[in-house]
């Protein structure tokens, strides 16, 4: 291990470490623009110059590997002078428009110019200007501000796997742009904005709407997909201005999908801000007592068996627990959190978790994808799969939708019969899985939300077992959820009680008249036309399909407006924090259920967040350990039987619009118009 001295402090590092990385480890700050710890080293901005003993000239520390006995100085007059020179050149063509630049206040160039810039310019010639580029509806470009660090080019090519950006020309004429005719339509494109060290790439939907120091920052968790990425919600007044990723190495590293980042304008549109009651066929505004009274009147004299509840994709655990208790008090066993009808088995936790964990999937050396397109179902996870494939190789195959996943894989077909072949050992890919050290499979909701879902789940289990995916030290059986609510619902038992109806049976019951009152907890993706004459109570945040069908609307809070618990696809209990208040008279959902239960004469026994969280822990002790993961026990699950011939597909047909918030978002609508459903096929070279 090379030992070197930086500013008089000694450090041992692995061979191949660069000086800058070693200095970072010591907490010695070296300015940089092009270097980024998750991207390939470019070494082109020259801001990180340091002095190395016995080397005649300053050295770019980001690109210089350490050597034993090196003596590095990061803060000498020579170094300062060199950096000042670099800064002067960077500022030669950089406009002085910080007061109107959205990056102002959080700009690397601005900050470093405070340390290394001069307060006057020696430059008298004209500045070079560059035409702005069209990067689509998410990214605003001001290319004159570009300092050619090439971070965006490297991100697009390396992390996102969509190499559409490049630097054309050379020297002063170097222009970062996209290839003619290509769109910057990676599902991860928003990260380019975070990576850009200057204001060349900025958040288009939020353009000119904020100064960074005006925003209140709330660290919370994303609920737009099943991963539960760490996010920061920036708000001003009672308005969410933007959503940014936070670093969480276990889940999203420091990336965030575009829907999670840009759908936040949907939080302001189509909102349910007061209760409504249907009178004479028309929804009319009502007060909370009126709405509760309407529900109480309808419930009077009803048997518990005529009452049911379905939880949607963003229902939080607190609300589901409160609703479960209320339904139990009303005598109903008909409740389900699987609004898509997925054949998830609530009795075996390992059967519905991403068991390898999200970070752990990077160990997988062979992978089978079943009925899933991770690129649109969980783009951040897909970036990890690509990373694994790039860095260590990954023998991947897919049974399901044919898609450009940004990593090489064999598309075996989309017939469920292939699963039978694999389970029975008749398919050659099984040998690949068996030969691997850490074989894994990912089964998507597209394979489970079918009539034969339980059969396919059973086949996946047999494949996992016969390929050696389930061992003492490794469990490569992974279920990829697209809904933030799903695992939490299964963990707390928001599923039919003994003899109770599941989603399909509830809808059939509503159609036949057996189910007379149906509670929808933000459930908008069920077939509303099939609910017959049932009295529908919709508790949710947006005027989407459920609200249109509802007889009573109870306005609830979106995930940015409540302290709520979600469990992500790997079984990690996480909590959101309230960034802004729900609009108008809307309330946190579990409090609505609590208030309703009192009117109905079956008061659920919690008056505070602590009490309902205690109830969650009581339902499942896992809720008492937010943030941690527990390995789930492997037990038999799935059902033997015949598969049907319907081809396996992804549960999502579009990346950008999947839930009430993103459907209400004009930004997401613009993305659909510009990019289609996402997952565009680029002229991107071969992923091979």
């Amino acid at each position: 291990m090379p030992k070197l001295t930086i500013d008089g402090r000694e450090i041992d590092v692995e061979p191949g470490t660069t000086i800058l990385q070693a200095a970072d480890r010591l907490g010695i700050e070296i300015p940089r623009f092009c270097y980024h710890e998750r991207l390939a080293i470019a070494g082109n901005c020259r801001m990180c110059l340091v002095e190395v003993e016995k080397v005649p000239k300053p050295v770019a520390s980001c690109a210089m590997p350490v050597a034993d006995g090196m003596v590095v100085q990061t803060n000498t007059p020579v170094v300062r002078k060199a950096r000042q020179g670099v800064m002067e050149f960077l500022l030669v063509n950089h406009p002085l428009d910080c007061p109107i630049c959205d990056q102002g206040g959080e700009c690397d160039l601005q900050d470093q110019a405070m340390a290394y810039g001069s307060d006057r310019s020696r430059y008298e010639e004209t500045k070079r200007a560059q035409p702005d580029k069209d990067y689509g509806p998410l990214i605003a470009t001001h290319m004159t501000r570009c300092i050619q660090c090439t971070r965006c080019i490297r991100f697009a090519a390396e992390i996102a796997g969509t190499p559409v950006l490049g630097g054309l020309g050379r020297g002063e004429h170097l222009e970062v742009t996209r290839y003619v005719g290509e769109t910057v339509s990676s599902e991860l494109s928003g990260n380019l904005i975070d990576l850009c060290p200057v204001g060349a790439l900025t958040n288009k939907p939020a353009s000119f709407r904020y100064r960074s120091w005006e925003l209140r920052r709330t660290e919370t968790v994303d609920a737009m997909d099943g991963l539960g990425a760490a996010i920061r919600v920036d708000s001003r007044g009672n308005e969410v201005i933007r959503v940014l990723p936070r670093i969480n190495e276990d889940i999203n590293e420091e990336w965030l999908g575009d829907r999670s980042r840009f759908a936040c304008d949907g939080l302001k549109r189509q909102r349910l801000d007061r209760p409504y009651v249907r009178k004479d066929g028309k929804l009319t505004p009502a007060t909370w007592p009126e709405a509760f009274a309407a529900i109480a009147a309808r419930l009077t004299g009803l048997e518990g068996s005529a009452i049911a509840a379905i939880a949607g994709d963003q229902a939080d655990a607190e609300t589901m627990a409160a609703t479960k208790d209320l339904l139990a008090a009303l005598g109903s066993l008909h409740l389900d959190c699987r609004q898509d009808g997925a054949a998830l088995d609530p009795t075996v936790r390992a059967s519905y978790l991403f068991n390898s964990t999200i970070a752990g999937i990077e160990q997988a050396d062979a992978l089978l994808l079943i009925g899933t397109n991770p690129r649109i179902e969980a783009p951040v996870l897909n970036a990890r799969l690509r990373k694994r494939w790039l860095e260590h190789g990954l023998a991947a195959a897919a049974i399901g939708p044919k898609a450009d996943l940004t990593f090489a894989h064999d598309w075996l077909g989309d017939s469920p019969a292939l699963l039978t072949e694999l389970a029975e050992g008749r398919h050659p890919f099984l040998a690949t899985l068996k030969a691997a050290k850490h074989p894994a499979l990912i089964i998507g909701q597209g394979a489970l939300a079918r009539d034969d879902g339980a059969v396919l789940l059973g086949l996946a289990r047999r494949i996992a077992e016969s390929a050696g995916m389930v061992r003492e030290d490794w469990n490569g059986f992974n279920v990829l959820h697209t809904a933030a609510a799903r695992v939490g619902g299964l963990d707390l038992g928001f599923v039919p009680g003994p003899g109770g109806r599941d989603t399909k049976a509830i809808i059939a019951g509503a159609a036949s008249g057996a189910v007379k009152v149906l509670f929808l907890l933000g459930a908008d993706e069920i077939e509303m036309g099939a609910l017959g004459d049932a009295f529908v109570v919709y508790l949710g945040s947006h005027g989407d399909a459920g609200a249109h069908r509802a007889d009573v609307i109870l306005p609830g809070a979106a995930y940015t407006e409540k302290d709520a618990t979600y469990v992500n696809t790997e079984g990690r209990v996480q909590r959101t924090r309230r960034a802004v208040f729900p609009p108008g008279e809307a309330k946190e959902d579990w409090r609505v259920i609590r208030a309703l239960s009192e009117v109905l004469g079956h008061t659920v026994p919690f008056d505070s967040l602590d009490q309902i969280r205690a109830r969650l822990t009581n339902l499942n002790p896992l809720f008492g350990h937010p943030g941690s993961l527990e390995r789930a026990l492997w037990e038999p699950f799935g059902r033997p039987g015949a598969t049907d011939d319907r081809p396996l597909a992804s549960i999502l047909d579009s990346y950008y619009m999947t839930d009430p918030i993103s459907r209400a978002s004009t930004t997401m609508a613009a993305c659909v118009a510009a990019f289609g459903g996402g997952c565009n096929h680029h002229k991107a070279g071969h992923h091979a």
Binding site: A157, P163, G166, G167, L168, R170, R178, Y179, K683, G685
Partner: protein, 202 residues
Amino acid sequence: MSDSPAEPAAFAFTAESAEQARAFIARYPIGRQQSAVMPLLDLAQRQEGWVSRAAIEAIADMLGMAPIQVEEVATFYTMYNRRPVGRFHVQICTNLPCMLRGSDAVLDSVRETLGIGIGETTADGLFTLSEAECLGACVNAPVIQINDDYYEDLDAASTRAVLEALGRGETPKTGSQTGRQTSCPAGGPTTLTSPAAATERA
């Protein structure tokens, strides 16, 4: 690069070029085919006269690269023409040594003879005039490069003679136009012991 040239819809290597392209690709180890991007761009330019977007995409496809990555290479090197040029691409060096030796007069001579300015092509499509950075033949300055050939030690008259000969379809002598052998001293061979030559120069 303000107005973009008319891009052809498709590009394909001729059988002969395709053969050469395969040979270039075969020079590099498996998985390193991208290394052949520069010779392939050159092949395309020799075939078409310039590197069109269709050619970039065809080469990208052959080498498993993204088109933008091929375009980066094609725009980095000024020797790849990103717009069509005439049959004779006249590149005149105007850097310091050539300028000191009279490239201004050479440039004027080209302008006068062909009736075009820098960046323009004659109406008959024969000549395109470009200004080049140092062509690396300073010792024989001033110099112009026409396609693959260098014409050196030029003045206004010899420049006109070369261009007119090319226009007539002849093949003018390449290299020095004053008749000196390669880069030998202009006044003939000299040695340290020959004071005559030294005084002559003074």
